[in-house]
Amino acid sequence: MPRFYLHISDGTLFSEDQEGSEFHDIEAARRAAIVGLRDVMSAELKDGQINMAAFVEVEDEDHQLVMTVPFLDSVEVLTKHHRRPKK
């Protein structure tokens, strides 16, 4: 299985993935980037802060950048709300 490196930038720092992980294909690596971003961001959210500019860079085995996944592409942001029903 090919190895991909998933580097994350979350505003506080850029964290280089020196080890990488094996994925079935590039789509699986993209999926891991999305799930990883959501995981890191939800932890930040619990601490009361969130950086919307966070992203994950995906590099292939040769350390060539193959995609960048912005945090905002990993979630759907909704602003709609529901009013209290009238009595």
Binding site: H7, I8, D17, S21, V35, D39
Partner: protein, 261 residues
Amino acid sequence: METQETPGQTRIASAARSRTEGCIRFIAKLGAASTLSAEDEQAIADLCQDPRSVPAKSHLIREGDNPHNVLLMMEGWAARYSLVSDGGRQITAILLPGDFCDLHVTILGRMDHSIIALTAAKVAFIPHKVMQDLPINRPEVARALWRATLIDEAVLRQWIVNIGRRTASERIAHLFCELHARLKLVGLVEDGQFDLPLSQDVIADALGLTNVHVNRMLKNLRAEGIIALKEGELTILDLKRLQKLAGFDASYLHREMLVKQ
């Protein structure tokens, strides 16, 4: 840095030279908390005979298997895990040299989880019958094994606390503190440094995190100067800060029994 010799190391030094390192480690671990006679130690050494070599990433036993032997890690690391329906893996224990993989598993008859070797390993396969006879023939050894089982349960409790209530960085810090303490007991820590043959994926699966999150938190610990991690070797640069971050209290490992000796 602690320069004092640990009871484990003392045991290792005093054990017979002819026994394999793995066997000596196991005696050190069990003997650390008990008063074993020379005959008891020999009975333990007999348990460790003829370990089989197991390649990395191979299964020692799988969920659903009918276990006929009790497995004892002589060398190398293994992980106990269960899978969930989407294919996700939760590691529920990291097994180190000198650890049993389920002391009483043969009583249950069917494995409810799998155990995989994380590194090349040497594993002793002890027939159920031998384990059954041990309390009769060597009660002190049986007591030492029972104690080891209780401590394994205490470790599992701490893992639940870790995953359920600690933040990602606290979880990693706690895991490292625990591995440090457990490896020290079997003489595998030198100047705060030890082999850490765990990939990010394994750490993630042990802590209920994603590998991206693990990478991020490891970066934090490095940037803060608390640990150094290079080529599978972990150096704890500041144990006090790591323990503080983790809220680590080693009492669940019941090492106080060592002092009684």
